[in-house]
């Protein structure tokens, strides 16, 4: 359903002093997502995960590489073809409030894509809007109200209803629950799971919260400073991470269970050194706790198979691999 190949995004720095420098936000990232599958994409701020998500559905032009969504080459679409794509692929954002027009009622906001794409009007549109609001857990009384009258969780429901009213196959969700309170976050995660069942949706689920990602994902991809460093089945990534960065991330997450948290704190942890530029080598070398090889300082490791459907970009993990 989604095939991303060597997708790259470089920004040239606009500033007065750094003119001419290039920010490598996303570096030659490749992955596939099968129909009905959820791929979780994790990474810290500045890892390039949001930039990648936007390029996948064509909201941001790629510097190079390709993204094929539902059979369409996203990076080269224009005009009508672009509109055709957006019927098949939609985005859900962290803050639905900023993407909702404050002067539109909920009915208008959810119905707007139907009108814009000439899909339905009148009674037919009203039926589609009502079905989607109902599926998203909004009361019918919400339809005549304005976005500002709703809490964060309800606004996210509106944002999701608007994204799904065109019945897309692919949804890129960028931090869809990170602005919400814990109890509301669980409601929205459950809703996204229900909608996936209902419509057979394919998700690219982008989040910094590793627990949320584990919860929703079939497979998980880990990004570090523009590079995909590990990708594999969720169970494997969480139970037996192979990249030292994935391990560092997982070891850093505190547990709400005091006993489990005490065990985590007892783990030996290498003191981290501040991130330095690493020249031509592995992007993670400056923070890496593993014994380094010569290649770690000269070459960015390629993503190599380390198990069933499990790819890792690490010179040292490759050597340490049991088989």
């Amino acid at each position: 359903m989604v095939q991303v190949g060597d997708l790259r995004k470089h920004f040239s720095q606009p500033g007065l002093f750094r003119r001419g420098q290039v920010l490598r936000a996303v570096q030659d990232v490749s992955f596939d997502i099968a129909p009905g599958e959820t791929l979780g994409l994790v990474g810290e701020s500045g890892s390039g995960k949001s930039t990648l998500g936007r390029m996948v559905v064509g909201l941001l032009p790629a510097t190079s590489g390709s993204s094929v969504v539902a059979g369409m080459e996203v990076t080269r679409l224009k005009g009508q073809a672009r509109r055709a794509l957006w019927r098949r692929a939609q985005m859900v954002f962290q803050d639905p409030y900023s993407s909702l027009n404050p002067r539109m009622t909920v009915r208008e906001a959810i119905g707007e894509p139907l009108r814009n794409f000439g899909i339905a009007r009148g009674a037919e549109a009203e039926a589609a809007i009502r079905r989607m609001t109902d599926l998203c857990g909004l009361p019918a009384s919400a339809l005549d109200r304005y976005p500002r009258e709703f809490s964060g969780g309800q606004r996210q429901r509106i944002g999701i209803a608007r994204a799904l009213v065109l019945r897309p196959d692919v949804v890129v969700a960028d931090e869809p629950v990170s602005a919400l309170d814990v109890s509301i976050q669980a409601q929205i995660i459950n809703l996204l799971q229900d909608l996936r069942q209902e419509f057979g949706l394919t998700y690219l689920f982008i989040a910094h919260d590793l627990a949320v990602v584990r919860h929703v994902s079939d497979r998980v991809a880990v990004m570090y400073r523009g590079h995909l460093v590990e990708i594999g089945p969720a169970e494997r990534i969480y139970a037996a991470p192979r990249h030292p960065y994935t391990r560092l991330l997982l070891d850093s997450v505190p547990s709400p269970d005091p006993a489990a948290e005490a065990r985590r704190q007892a783990l030996p942890r290498p003191e981290e050194t501040p991130v330095q530029s690493t020249g031509g080598g592995c992007v993670f070398a400056a923070r890496c706790p593993l014994p380094k090889l010569a290649a770690c300082f000269t070459q960015q490791p390629p993503l190599l198979r380390q198990g069933p459907m499990h790819l890792v970009a690490c010179h040292a993990a490759e050597k340490a691999s049991p088989a």
Partner: protein, 325 residues
């Protein structure tokens, strides 16, 4: 028995409503923090946790109507004059906020700003001051403190800024550090470093910490006692091991069940239906009752008191108190 360092009794904070009334957003909150203790206040947005913390430094907006008592080392903080509260800030109670960028002046060097914090109370001679700034920066784990002191806030990463802010808060060796969502804006690896830093500061200097957070795992990581707030009320408090392992209040139970965990496989999360009440019109009886799956007749008729369910462990729930009938 140890005298509490901070003692909050019947704290009530109300804001005017558009209809001309007063909406209490913190309503009858009482708790203690002992010297050297780390206490967490956990709650969702609108629970009143941040306002409770800010009241301890008189940092509330002028239109807030505040009543009750906040005692710090035996003095009533709410009754202190502006001059006395300034004297208290920094040496007695210091605070760190969620966003360290807005807490720093962008055009002054970090070392200069930490030095200013020292000057407010003691104004040490230049050399002693610079030495103390370097000492504070290395205390919070900032490498090359001499060079780093001369840098501007924007030259720091998010984690380094939070460390520097913590250094500034620790400048005058406060007895109590109030940390309001200190790690919320940070990446998980940096959060882990800041939590370790706070644990270390507490152990090394005996500074008590009142941690305000929405993140239960952060409480489990740092605190010995926890206070759970819901809709302006304390609904449960007690030792972290008890409250997080065997919660008494249905809200605490539901909150723990709704948190996804990295050590648990996918499955349906137990969400809490509905939303917290509007402070201007709280529901009758228990404030959690409209969302509670275990609510009974008495819960809508009468609000339960916050009472002991075990030594040192209290809950505001008829069921937990064995008085549901």
């Amino acid at each position: 028995m140890t005298e509490p360092l901070l003692s909050v009794r019947g704290l009530r904070i109300a804001f005017p409503t558009p209809a001309g009334g007063q909406a209490p957003v913190v309503d009858g909150v009482s708790f203690d923090v002992l010297p050297g203790e780390i206490v967490g206040i956990v709650g969702e947005s609108g629970s009143g946790k941040s306002l409770t913390a800010r009241a301890a430094l008189q940092l509330l907006p002028p239109r807030a109507a505040v009543s009750g008592e906040i005692g710090f080392e035996g003095r009533d903080v709410l009754a202190l004059s502006p001059r006395d509260i300034r004297a208290l800030r920094g040496t007695g109670i210091a605070m760190v906020f969620q966003d360290p960028m807005t807490s720093f002046n962008p055009v002054l060097r970090v070392g200069e700003q930490i030095g200013e914090a020292l000057d407010i109370h003691r104004a040490p001679p230049k050399q002693a001051r610079e030495a103390r700034v370097r000492e504070l920066l290395s205390l919070v784990g900032i490498p090359e403190p001499e060079r780093r002191a001369r840098a501007y806030p924007h030259e720091y990463s998010g984690g380094m800024r939070q460390r520097a802010l913590t250094a500034m808060a620790m400048a005058n060796a406060p007895r109590l550090l109030i940390a309001d969502e200190p790690t919320t804006a940070l990446d998980v690896t940096v959060q882990d470093q800041i939590l370790r830093l706070m644990r270390g500061l507490n152990e090394a200097s005996g500074t008590a910490i009142l941690l305000i957070t929405h993140n239960i795992a952060v409480v489990a990581s740092l605190c010995r006692r926890v206070i759970v707030m819901y809709a302006g009320r304390v609904v449960e408090d007690g030792p972290v091991e008890q409250v997080l392992t065997a919660p008494s209040h249905p809200y605490t139970q539901a909150l723990l069940q709704s948190v996804p965990r990295i050590d648990q496989p996918a499955g349906r999360l137990t969400a809490i239906a509905g939303q917290p009440p509007d402070p201007a019109s709280p529901p009758p009886g228990c404030r959690f009752q409209p969302r509670c799956t275990q609510a009974m007749g008495r819960c809508t008729a009468e609000e339960p008191p916050l009472d002991a369910v075990a030594p040192g462990h209290r809950a505001r729930c008829w069921l937990a108190l064995g008085q549901a009938a």
